[in-house]
């Protein structure tokens, strides 16, 4: 197992490097001088040159990448142009909110997805299956930012039960005062992973049930409950992989939902960075989110190998 983990870690290194390179290059595909937003509009050519040297923009690109990477490794992601604060601090503050939202959304989405998926797979081609399939297709086809708006219209505007925007006063606490802000964005966010997990698990359970070993289990007189345990065990590795991937998508895709609900997470930060042309903030936030995604993929691989010994051997 340790050898497997080490091997996977070794394979992840070039990916991490490449991801950093893409994030680094984001600033260079941006049109205009990267200094334009820090320089006063009437800056002399001399001052511009001085600033260029101070920021290291006069160095060759690979050297700049090396310096940037070295700083990033030490937790220095540069300074936000808009606020003047360290990007790492800004991201650290926002990341907690996004993780909290994504965690609740994934618990919701995954539990309903697993439940629906097992039901549909077990009762293949019955009305249960058709109902669940319809729900899951509707789930994956929903523009989630629109669903968020509709939920706000129903539960905030019409009924007045829940607040429409924000994350509650002061810092986060797990009490009703704060939790009521989390409910609508979490439900909105859980719809797409719910649909995808349902689809995957339905197909998976259907496949497993049609295999001969299930027939053998039933033939030797095992009760449905025990047969179900076998099916669940066989479905786990793939289900875990899909859920891990979906959690990563939740973190990366939260920008739309955070915008709808003004949820103060990384997506909200990204939105601000884009519209204030705050490129260091954009770069830093995307780097952190992408590295989270790479890390999640790694965890999924290790977890899968731990559950299913066949993966380790191959």
């Amino acid at each position: 197992m340790l050898a497997f983990i080490l091997k996977r870690l070794l394979l992840v290194l070039p990916v991490v490097l490449a991801v950093s390179l893409v994030c680094f290059l984001l600033v260079y595909i941006a049109p205009g001088d990267p200094l334009i937003s820090v320089l006063p509009p009437d800056a002399s050519a001399e001052l511009a040159e001085q600033m260029r040297r101070a920021y290291g923009f006069d160095r060759p690109l690979p050297v700049q990448f090396g310096i940037w990477l070295w700083k990033a490794l030490h937790g220095d992601l540069g300074t936000s142009i808009a606020t003047g604060r360290a990007v790492a601090d800004e991201v650290a503050r926002a990341v907690g909110n996004t993780l909290r939202l994504a965690a609740v959304a994934s618990v919701l989405g995954f539990s309903f997805g697993l439940l629906f998926g097992f039901l549909a797979g077990y009762f293949r081609d019955t009305w249960v299956d058709r109902l669940v399939t319809t729900i899951s297709i509707a789930g994956v086809s929903t523009p989630h930012y629109w669903l968020g708006m509709v939920l706000v219209i129903i539960f905030s505007v019409q009924l007045g039960w829940l607040p429409a925007v924000g994350a509650g006063p002061g810092g986060w606490a797990w009490d009703w005062e704060h939790l009521q802000f989390l409910i609508l964005p979490a439900i909105t966010m859980s719809v797409i992973p719910m649909g995808i997990v349902t689809r995957t698990v339905r197909a998976l359970v259907g496949d497993i049930l049609s295999q001969e070993f299930v027939l053998a289990l039933r033939a030797k007189g095992l009760g449905e409950g025990r047969v179900f345990a076998h099916v669940a065990k066989n479905a786990t590795p793939t289900a875990v992989a899909v859920m891990g991937l979906q959690l990563g998508y939740l973190l990366g895709g939260s920008i739309l939902i955070e915008t709808v609900f003004s949820w103060p997470g990384t997506g909200f930060l990204l939105n601000a960075a884009i519209f204030q042309r705050d490129l260091p903030l954009l770069q830093g936030t995307i780097l952190v989110l992408a590295l989270f995604f790479v890390f999640l993929n790694l965890m999924v691989d290790v977890l899968q190998a731990a559950i299913d010994p066949r993966i380790k051997r191959s």
Partner: protein
């Protein structure tokens, strides 16, 4: 002699097979869900294309005294938006840009991704490693994040959002194309073509392409729904279309402030995105099962 010839012709005529694609088409025609979805999509697309000739109101003409009328107002069947523009005409006209930015990235990515995937799958070796490892890097980003990162850095606008979405959809298509090509490459007819002296380009174009296009095409159609949602999402964030252009994502964005005044009008553009997206999803599912020979 001539009787025999006639018989042979008759035989040839009755035996004339519809071919694989003919069968797929027939199976698709018999699937009611797929046909309903296709009809809805066709209706929305035709309405969008011929929007200027349908005798609808001017989608850009606002009126300060007729802002945010509710659904069902006389003269405004679907109400008016925050600038007093007729919602019905804006929803119909909105289909032009919304469908375009939802479809074009997948079409571009289909061509580029198929080409790269076939090259990687057929040539193998260093070329394969080069293409597939580059694709892996893009897989290390969640797709929404990648699209937003690229169009955010480029600074929004219609062309930039098309570009960023195309980049997002190339890697998955390359992966599918590569794996299908790898499966076909080792089959006997490819060896036969090579033995008869065909070059790599000819083999890829004549022998491989026809055999891999089907699965790649069906996979690409399943991406359209995602692309619709993402493209409208970029506009919703203000990264795609610019006002006053009618486009469903952007309309959703500008109407967001109106949810306290006239909530259901504000939700209408999303209904369009949802409808188109679910129809493409169901149609793609229908196509996949129609192409599944096991059925």
């Amino acid at each position: 002699m001539s009787v025999l010839a006639d018989d042979l012709i008759d035989l040839a005529a009755t035996r004339k097979s519809r071919g694989y694609w003919g069968n797929v088409g027939r199976r698709l025609l018999r699937d009611p869900v797929s046909m309903i979805c296709a009809a809805i999509l066709l209706l929305i697309a035709l309405a969008a294309v011929f929007a200027p000739y349908l005798g609808l109101a001017d989608p850009y003409l606002g009126s300060m005294i007729r802002r945010l009328r509710p659904i069902g107002t006389a003269g405004y069947p679907l109400g008016t938006d925050e600038l007093g523009r007729d919602m019905l005409t804006r929803l119909v006209h909105g289909g032009r840009l919304s469908l375009l930015i939802g479809l074009l990235p997948v079409v571009f990515a289909f061509f580029i991704g198929t080409t790269l995937g076939i090259i990687a799958g057929y040539l193998g070796g260093v070329v394969n490693q080069l293409i597939m490892r580059t694709v892996d890097v893009f897989y290390a980003f969640p797709s929404v994040l990648l699209a937003i990162a690229i169009s955010g850095a480029l600074g929004g606008g219609l062309l930039n959002s098309l570009l960023s979405l195309t980049i997002v959809f190339i890697p998955p298509i390359v992966r599918v194309a590569e794996s299908v090509t790898t499966g076909v490459r080792s089959l006997d007819f490819v060896d036969a073509a090579r033995a008869s002296g065909a070059g790599a380009l000819t083999i890829m174009r004549v022998h491989i392409l026809g055999n891999v296009l089907g699965p790649i095409f069906v996979y690409a159609t399943s991406l359209i729904s995602v692309c619709m949602i993402l493209a409208a999402g970029l506009s919703f964030l203000g990264l795609g279309t610019k006002p006053p252009e009618p486009e469903w994502g952007l309309m959703l964005n500008t109407l967001r402030t109106a949810i306290y005044v006239n909530p259901w009008v504000a939700a209408l553009p999303g209904v369009m995105i949802f409808t188109v997206s679910i129809c493409f999803n169901l149609l793609s599912d229908g196509m996949r099962s129609a192409m599944d020979v096991r059925n």
